[in-house]
Symmetry: C2
Subunit: 318 residues, 2 copies
């Protein structure tokens, strides 16, 4: 039996959207037990299968407007911290899912689940590239906004370990996000990191990668600070939505809306933003998935399946 802890209070769509996702997972998977963190009265309404879930009572969350470190002072009342604590204290828990504040997930992971070999967890996103079936691990995507070069080198190690385990890549290619492919390009942080990655023999460093090539399978791990990584992730999503919207509008204008919708569906499936939106906390002792704030039932369900697959591959535990 695999136990997953799900924080129901983080999503912008409200706890009901999360509980709908949980309900679907429980009806589909026999060997999964879910610990739901949230309002027990609300959980009751969903008539979940007896014996396959339990509830940790919580009514408070951390928003993007709160300071996550200050929020930790009342950790015993806040859903995301309770969820991470449960995972830290119980061996049978395989992982945690939350759509709440990235900062709070970060602080909670640091307190309850940090791998003793690490100084800080990093938030990675596994992004589909133009080469079907090949993915790039972008790290960090927003957990560490201000970074030093040593941190970026640690991201390179964390990402390499993860891709080695998840996709059985022996020597994951590590790229460094920069403002050009030439070794001379970069801000101060990138230039210092470049030298350190070049000197690190345990890293298969392939050099600078510019944003245009981020999703072109130039590397298995793309390293950057959390501010830059957040731009890559969010701009990708924004441009995709804008282009698809423009195409559908044009489809309606020219009477080709059916084809436009078919194309849009194909692109959405290929670059499945809702499923791929989940970030993975690297450097933690358990699997911690941070879903987007906008997550609905589909995203929560997808995150549960990612967790189950990762746990089956014994990723992170190795």
């Amino acid at each position: 039996m695999k136990r997953i802890v799900v924080d129901t209070l983080g999503s912008d769509q409200g706890p009901k959207a999360v509980l709908e996702g949980v309900k679907e997972v429980l009806s589909e998977c026999d060997d999964v037990h879910i610990t739901i963190v949230g309002d027990p009265a609300l959980v009751k309404e969903y008539q979940l299968p007896e014996g396959k879930y339990d509830v940790i009572e919580a009514y408070e969350t951390v928003t993007n407007y709160d300071n996550p470190v200050q929020a930790f002072y009342k950790a015993e009342k806040v859903s995301i911290f309770l969820a991470l604590k449960e995972a830290g204290e119980n061996d049978d828990v395989i992982g945690v899912i939350s759509s709440g504040s990235t900062g709070a997930v970060m602080v909670g992971t640091l307190k309850y689940l940090l791998d003793e070999k690490r100084t800080r967890p990093a938030l990675a996103a596994i992004l589909p590239t133009i080469d079907k079936g090949r993915y790039t691990c972008l790290v960090d995507t927003g957990a560490s906004i201000d970074c030093g070069p040593h941190q970026l080198v640690e991201f390179a190690h964390l990402g390499s370990n993860f891709m080695r385990q998840l996709y059985k890549i022996d020597y994951p290619r590590v790229g460094l996000l920069s403002n050009g492919a030439e070794p001379t390009k970069g801000n101060k942080l990138v230039k210092e990191t470049f030298k350190m990655l070049e000197a690190d023999e345990s890293i298969n460093f392939v050099g600078n990668i510019e944003g245009k090539m981020a999703l072109n399978d130039m590397c298995d791990v793309l390293v950057c600070d959390g501010f830059a990584g957040n731009q890559v992730l969010k701009v990708t999503e924004g441009v995709a939505v804008n282009l698809i919207t423009e195409m559908i509008k044009y489809g309606y204008k020219t009477g080709k809306e059916d084809v436009a919708k078919e194309f849009a569906g194909h692109i959405m499936k290929t670059y499945d933003f809702e499923s791929n939106g989940a970030g993975i906390m690297l450097g933690a002792k358990k699997l911690v998935l941070k879903c987007r704030g906008s997550s609905g039932p589909k995203a929560i369900k997808s995150a549960c399946h990612i967790l189950i697959n990762l746990a089956n591959n014994k990723t992170i535990y190795e």
Copy 2:
């Protein structure tokens, strides 16, 4: 007669691609004179209309692998520096076009063309938004890679002036690129800049804008350091190319390649990357357009037309 100085040695496609663009402009526009910087023997081959052009001899350029400050030691031999010097010393020149190294265009502009009210020029891109006919001025896009908050405030002023003149917007809305829309979001640089923009009464500051919303007409001027701006620009381009490629591949697979190509054509026209690829140096006494390294004849022609239109609007001179 409007005189434009064109550096022919910067494009990755070689000087011939630039000269083809120049030839087209000269055949279309009666009131334009072009000063060509490059190899006179090569220019001769193009049989350009007599009296409408002259040539400044140059055979050397600055590549992305060179240090632009060191390259300036031999400025009298290098095409981009000669082009900017010509513009700085002659009142009849309306502007300069180059596809060469951004760093070199930056250094040359600083030496020969800096507005005395400014400390440093900034490289802006005028990007089409989802609202047809409305544009966002992204500044900086790669001229100042490492910035302090005072520089970002200067970018806000430069961008506001430009959008006021170019699009007659009385109070251009200024947004600050961040990793979330909330005022608490940002790296150190963004947080410090946020306070300064909030306190500056001459700026119509609308707050933080996340990358997902960069092209959604949330602001007229989007301020960021050159590293982040470069990511926004390049990721936008990369994602657009990848999605369009995926759609056309799918079109071929399903026998709908004609519709796929039609849709692709419409999107390319709406988000015309080749034309919109030109960056504008703000804070210079003359119009300086930095085209992409990959610029071909179409991009050069488009840059000439942008210059002529801007000069007709008396932008920057006011």
